[in-house]
Structures are given as C-alpha cells and as structure tokens.
C-alpha cells in the first residue's frame, strides 16, 4: 500500500468500529457466545447502543471483559452477573422483571386485556341502548349524499 494511502488510513483510524478482529476469541463457539452476550449489554456512555454495535472505547473494554470471562470458562449467566455487579442494571438492555419494572413488562398486555374486557362489556350492554341496528337510515343516507356530494 502506498504511503499516502496509509496516512489517510491512520487519520481515519481514530474510532474503532464495533467488534474488531483483534478482540475476537480464537474458539468460534466461545466467540459466538460473546457476541450474543454483547448484544444484550448496553454501552454505558452511548445513547442507545449495545457494546456489540458501539465504537466507543469503553464498549471495547467491556467486550474484552466479557471475552476474558468466557475464556476463563464462566457461564453466560455468570458473565452477565459479573458485568451487572460492576455497572448495575443500567447495563442490561433487557431490564430484569422486578417490582420497579412490572409496568414495563406487563403494561402492554394489561392494555390489551382491559380493552378486550371493555369491548365485551360494551357489547353486553347491548340492545337496550340502540334498538335500531340498521347501518344508515334512508334519511341519513340522503343527508350523507347531500353533504359529501356525488361519489362518482
């Protein structure tokens, strides 16, 4: 490679982009585990990136830490616990299910159930309210046509 080329390459080299070849574990299975774990860990200085996606130096440190622990023979759960011990729950992109996060995990399903219950109640309340179940009476249809103009 030419020298000018190399100079530009060095200028470009400042931020290291996400996972790099030099940090990978030689064992493919272990590396795959490291990648999977990294995808669930937040780069704590970034906005909303996992350490697997981030090019921040701190993310690289954490990636190396995860791989170091895996190389030592720790299980996935052990590695995660080890990182959480150092950085707190903040580092987990999938927050644990606990009292504080109950609404986060159950909220959407609660909305669905409440909505379904409301719908059933509304349908039960039924015939008394509106005995007329025709879609539009002739008068209403004429009114609609008059207001909306000709449709063709």
């Amino acid at each position: 490679m030419k020298r000018a080329f190399l100079a530009l390459a060095l200028m470009l080299a400042t931020p290291a982009a996400a996972v790099l070849p030099d940090e990978m574990l030689p064992d493919a299975a272990q590396e795959a585990r490291a990648r999977a774990i990294s995808k669930d860990l937040r780069c704590v200085v970034c906005q909303n990136q996992s350490i697997d996606d981030s090019d921040a130096p701190l993310a690289r440190d954490l990636r190396l830490l995860v791989r170091e622990q895996i190389a030592k023979g720790k299980s996935d759960a052990d590695v995660r616990d080890y990182v959480v011990q150092r950085y707190g729950n903040f580092v987990l992109l999938k927050p644990p299910v606990e009292g504080d996060t109950l609404l986060l995990w159950a909220g959407p399903f609660a909305i669905l159930l409440l909505g379904a219950a409301g719908l059933i109640a509304w349908q039960r309340r039924a015939p008394v309210a509106t005995p007329d179940s025709a879609p539009l009476s002739e008068a209403e249809r004429a009114e609609l046509d008059r207001l909306a103009g000709p449709h063709n």
């Binding site: 530009l8 390459a9 470009l12 080299a13 903040f90 986060l104 879609p135 539009l136 209403e140």
Partner: protein
C-alpha cells in the same frame, strides 16, 4: 434584506393565524357565513406568507449568505449545492420553519378541498388548525428564529453533518413531517367534531382522506429512514429501536389504528368516540415524537436545562393541546351517538381487535422509550435501560395475533357473521398455510422454528391479500371482467397494503434468522466468506471527493457461481473532520451482499484492512413491503368516494356506496 423579508413574512403569518384561530370559530357559533369564509382566505394567505418565508431561507442557503447565523452554522462553501439547500431543514430552526410550512399547507388544503364539508365544521377545523399554527409560529419566532444575523460575518460556514449529506436524508425529514403534521388535521377534525357534538359517518368519510394523507408520507418516511440507516451506518442494521425511530413509529401505529377505526365509523357509524380519541392521540404522539426526542429529554432529564425556554415551551404545547382535547373529549364524548351495534364475530369486531392490538403495540414502544426516563425520576437509585432485546421479546407476541387477524378481518361480514361460515371460508387458506409451514419447518429445522413461523405469517398475509381480490373478482355469480374493472381503488389499496405487510414480515423473519456475517482483516488478494457469499479483495486506493477524502477498497463477490464487483468507502469530511462509511451492497431479490471497510489493523499475517462481510437474506423485502403499504394508502386516497373538491357533476354511473373491501 432577504432575511428580513422572510422574518417579516413569518411575523405577518402569525398575525393572520391569530385572526384565523378566533374569527371562523365565532362565525360557526353565530352562523355568520362571512366570518366562516374569512377562515378559508386566511388559511390560504397564511400558507403563502410562510411559503415566502421558507423560500427566503432556502435562497439564503443557496446564496451561502453567512451573515445569517443559521446558514453559517449549517453549511459550507465546499458542500454541493443540493446539500446546501437541504441544510435548510437539517437543523432545529429550519426544521421548525418547515414544520409550520407543512402545517399551513395542510390548512390551505382544508380550505381549498373542503368545499363539501359542512360549513360550520370546516370553519371550526380551520380555527383549531390556526391555534396550532399560532403556537408553533410563536415558538419559531420567539425561541428559534431562523433569520437571526451574525456579526462579524465569517468567510466560510461550518459544515452540515456529513451523515446528513445523502440523498436519503434530503427527503427523509420532509416526509416524516408531512406525516406528523398531517395528524394535526385529524386532530382538528376530532376537536371540531367534539365542539359540534357530532361525529357521524359523513364526518368520518371527510376525515379519512386526511388520515391517509398523513399516513402515506409517514410510511414512506419511516421506510426511507430505515433504508438510509441500513446503507449509511455501516453495519447493515435496518431498525435499532432507537428513541428517534420509536418517535416516528408510535404515530404510525396509532395512525394505522385510526385508519381502520375510521372505516367502522364511516361504514357503520360506530366507534365514533374511539376514532376521535385515536385522532387526538396520533397528533399528541407526533408532537412528543418530534419535540421530546429533539429536546434531549430521552438521553437525560437534565438536557432540558440546556435551553430551558424551548423545553418549557414544548412541554406547555404538548400538555396544552393534548390536555384541552382530552378534557373536551371527556365532556362531550357521552353526547356522541354510539352508532350501530355489532356481533362479537363481525368485521367491526375484527377492526376493534386490530385497534386493541395496535394500541398494545404502541404501549410497548411508548413504555420502552419513556420507562428509563420515568425510572430516573421516581427511582433514581435503580437506573435501567431498555433496548432491542426488550422490544423483540414483547413486540413479537403482540404483533403475531395482529398479523393473523389481518387476513381474517376482510373475510368477515359487517354487523354479524357466524363462526361456522367463517370456519368454512378459512378452511382452505389455513390448510395451505399449514402445508407451507410444515415445509418451512422441515427446511429450517427446530432450532429456527421462529423463522419458519415468521415466513409462514408473511405468506399468510400475501395470500390473504390475494384472496380479497379473488373474492371480489369472482363475486356471487362467478368471475367477470366487469367486476375486475369496477374494483374500487380502496380495495386495491387494502390488497397492496396487506400484501406489503406480508413482504415486510417475511423479510424481518429471514433477516433475524438467516443473516450471516464475517469480520476480519484482509489484504488485497485474500478471500473470505459469510454464509453463501464469498468475497475477494482486489485492491485498495485513496480518492478525493468534492468535500471529502476517502479510502476505497475493491472487492470481487461470488455467490451461486456468479461473480461481480463491489466498492466500499470510508470517507473523511475535511471541514468537520467527521467520517462516514459507504458500504458496497450487492442487491438481489433473495438478499443483499454487504461489504464495509474499517480501520487498518494488524493480524497474524501482517497489516490489512478490517472488512465486514454480511449476507442479508430478503432484507429488501422489508422496504419493498413498506413501499407497497404506502402505495396501498395512496391507492385508497385516490378512491373516487374521497375525491374531495371533485366537480359537482352528476353522472349516473356506479353505485355510490362501494362495499368496504
């Protein structure tokens, strides 16, 4: 001079908007036709003035007039002209101006194409629309004036963020704004209906084109944004559950719900209250989307302190608009006619469940986006993060039933259907999909069963869309060309949109299960493989661009016996010093080959370039699906029964109320 003209036009438009927010409303209350007519002229005038103001700003950017602070801070002489012009909205102040411009264009649209609306309803809508204008114009003028001058005048400006110097990004924000701001119209429709105490089928029919007019560009904007992230950010992700993306996704989900509930209100007069509520929510979420995200509150609560005036203004606006509308809703909703009832197995029921599921999905995105902020406030010791693993886990089980329902819904009869008839209609489609699923499962194996399920869901959706056409064309008395020719545009819209959803689903399923990647150090002459893709680096060089220098690598890519070349670049923008990645992408129907280059690094065999090779199966289907959905919306919009402002000629063709297919 131009800056002053633009500024002055903006001030005038605020005054016009102030008058428009009061007089037509007064006219509607008093039944004064002249006051109501004033609303129509004012809306047009407002659009002209803001258009003039925007044109001034754009010209200033075009002339590179660095005596205007905004121009100096966001464009440089070395930037190509199209990007200098696009820089007009590539910043806070300019994008605010674009926002009010779009708002005023929609307002003028209601004035121009709303001739067939009830006069009092139109007047009220225009007034509400003007109230929103007043708030935003005041915000722009008092906290984010785009025309502020700069002294001393610099010789050259600071560059626009290079990431934004891209054709995708030129159109992405205006499209999103068309969507966000479009929901201001439905918001105005909802508030006007509440003020009138009437939300009938005619109201829903008038509103539906405006929902579509917002939904179509929003769909395009989100699709384009996802595509841009894919090819520009350099690692081939297409959706990151980033707060900024979520901000556009929430109004889309609620807008989709609104689109469907408005059908029920239009056809059957039911769910009017619910439709109004969704219309209010869609706009609230659009406001939250554009502004809370922009204010930086999502990264930290304290970011608001950076510019407290703007933050407080934004918050007041969101609370004011949403709060007022919801209070009005609480007071007036009981007075709305509840409309016709429907059986628990009916088209209406199907659409209601569609709405419930979309609400639940919106809740997933909303909670995921805001929970960390809320936690920081209520339990500062237990800070949490919410990322893709949460969304993927909670979103999928709620999305799956919705996708299953999408194909069943159009088979249901309005008002009341019975389970036996439904079962008979479903028998063949379910059998076909069962066979497809079994075949896919055999091919993928148990480990990737979720991918088989996802692909089968995609097939289910596409088949469902085709069946809608088949049923329409066959009719009661067998196939006829007349039925083909008279297919309403709205039916074509449904078919395209639902099929699009199927393509997107299949693409997502394939991407999440079968994508392959390889990251390594390569030197010219070396070969590496990721999944079915084999890549050889053929050379590397340095190149000069208009306003950047780049490292460029050439690759020869082989797959299934065919070979072609790809080029990948890493650019250094000389003015700002920032870098971008231009990945080399080989596109095909079955998937994309994606090659990106990184730094120079050492490995066992010496120095080389870091290369990322990816195989992205069916990834193009994700955006193709989005495009189909948008086309479906556009087709629906062209349906003749919505043709707003069509000449009042009576032609004795075709039945007037087309079936809701």
């Amino acid at each position: 001079m131009l800056a002053e003209i633009g500024h002055f036009a903006l001030i005038l438009s605020l005054l016009v908007a102030l008058a428009q927010s009061v007089l037509p409303m007064l006219g509607a209350i008093r039944g004064d036709a002249a006051l109501m007519a004033f609303g129509r002229s004012a809306a047009g005038l407002q659009a002209l003035l803001i258009g003039l103001s925007f044109a001034c700003l754009m010209t200033l950017f075009g002339q590179a007039d660095f005596s205007v602070a905004l121009v100096a801070n966001h464009s440089a002489l070395s930037q190509p002209l199209p990007y200098r012009l696009a820089a007009t909205w590539g910043n806070h102040e300019g994008s605010m101006l674009l926002w009010v411009l779009v708002l005023s264009i929609y307002g003028a649209g209601i004035a121009r194409f709303g001739d067939n609306l009830r006069a009092t309803l139109q007047a009220r809508i225009l007034s509400v629309q003007a109230m929103i204008s007043v708030a935003f114009l005041a915000f722009a003028l008092f906290t984010s004036n785009p025309f502020a001058r700069l002294f001393p005048v610099p010789l050259d400006g600071a560059e626009l963020n290079p990431l934004l110097q891209d054709p995708g990004l030129v159109f992405h924000p205006p499209l999103l704004y068309l969507g966000y701001v479009g929901f201001s119209v439905t918001f105005s429709f909802a508030v006007a209906a509440l003020l009138e105490g009437r939300a009938d089928p005619a109201w829903a029919r008038w509103m539906r084109p405006w929902v579509l007019a917002a939904w179509v560009p929003l769909t395009c904007g989100i699709t384009l944004g996802s595509f841009w992230a894919y090819y520009e950010l350099g690692w081939g992700g297409w959706w990151f559950w980033d707060p900024v993306e979520n901000a556009s996704f929430m109004p889309w989900l609620i807008g989709t719900a609104l689109l469907h509930s408005a059908i029920v209100t239009e056809k059957r007069g039911s769910l009017a209250g619910w439709t109004i509520l969704l219309a209010i929510l869609a706009f609230s979420l659009s406001l939250i989307g554009t502004f809370l995200v922009r204010s930086g509150i999502l990264t930290s609560v304290h970011a608001f302190a950076v510019d407290p005036k703007r933050g407080v203004f934004i918050l007041a606006m969101i609370i004011g608009a949403t709060g007022t509308a919801l209070t009005l809703f609480a007071a007036k909703a009981p007075m709305l006619r509840s409309g016709a009832l429907f059986g628990s197995v009916s088209r209406e029921s199907g659409l209601t469940f569609n709405n419930l599921l979309l609400m639940a999905l919106t809740a997933v995105v909303f909670l995921g986006t805001f929970y960390p902020v809320i936690m920081e406030a209520v339990a500062p010791t237990n800070k949490i993060s919410v990322g893709p693993p949460y969304y993927n886990l909670v979103f999928a089980p709620l999305a799956a039933p919705l996708l299953i329902l999408v194909t069943i819904g159009p088979m249901l009869a309005w008002k009341r259907d019975d389970l036996g008839a439904l079962a008979r209609k479903l028998l063949l489609p379910v059998a076909i999909i069962a066979v497809v699923l079994a075949g896919l499962a055999l091919w993928t194996g148990l480990a990737k069963l979720s991918a088989a399920l996802g692909l089968a869901l995609g097939a289910w959706l596409i088949m469902g869309a085709v069946l809608v056409l088949v049923r329409r064309w066959r009719g009661a008395g067998g196939f006829s060309w007349r039925l083909v020719r008279t297919t309403p545009a709205a039916t074509i819209g449904l078919v395209l949109a639902h099929a699009g959803l199927g393509f997107t689903t299949a693409g997502i399923a394939a991407m999440s299960a079968f994508s392959a990647e390889k990251i390594l150090v390569m030197r010219p002459g070396e070969t590496a493989a990721a999944g079915p893709v084999s890549v050889t680096m053929t050379g590397a060089e340095e190149v000069e661009g208009a306003n950047y220098r780049a490292l460029r690598a050439h690759f020869s890519v082989r797959q299934n016996g065919s070979t072609h070349g790809l080029v990948s670049e890493r650019r250094l923008y000389t003015v700002s010093g920032s870098q971008t990645t231009e990945a080399g992408i080989g596109v095909s129907v079955l998937g994309n080959q994606y090659v990106a280059i990184g730094d120079v690094q050492q490995d066992a065999r010496g120095q080389g370039l870091v290369v990322r090779i990816y195989w992205h199966p069916l990834v193009g289907w994700i955006w193709f699906g989005g495009l189909l959905m948008a086309m479906g919306g556009a087709a629906s919009l062209s349906d003749r029964r919505f043709r707003i402002g069509a000449p009042q000629v009576r032609t004795p063709l075709a039945p007037n109320l087309v079936p809701a297919e």
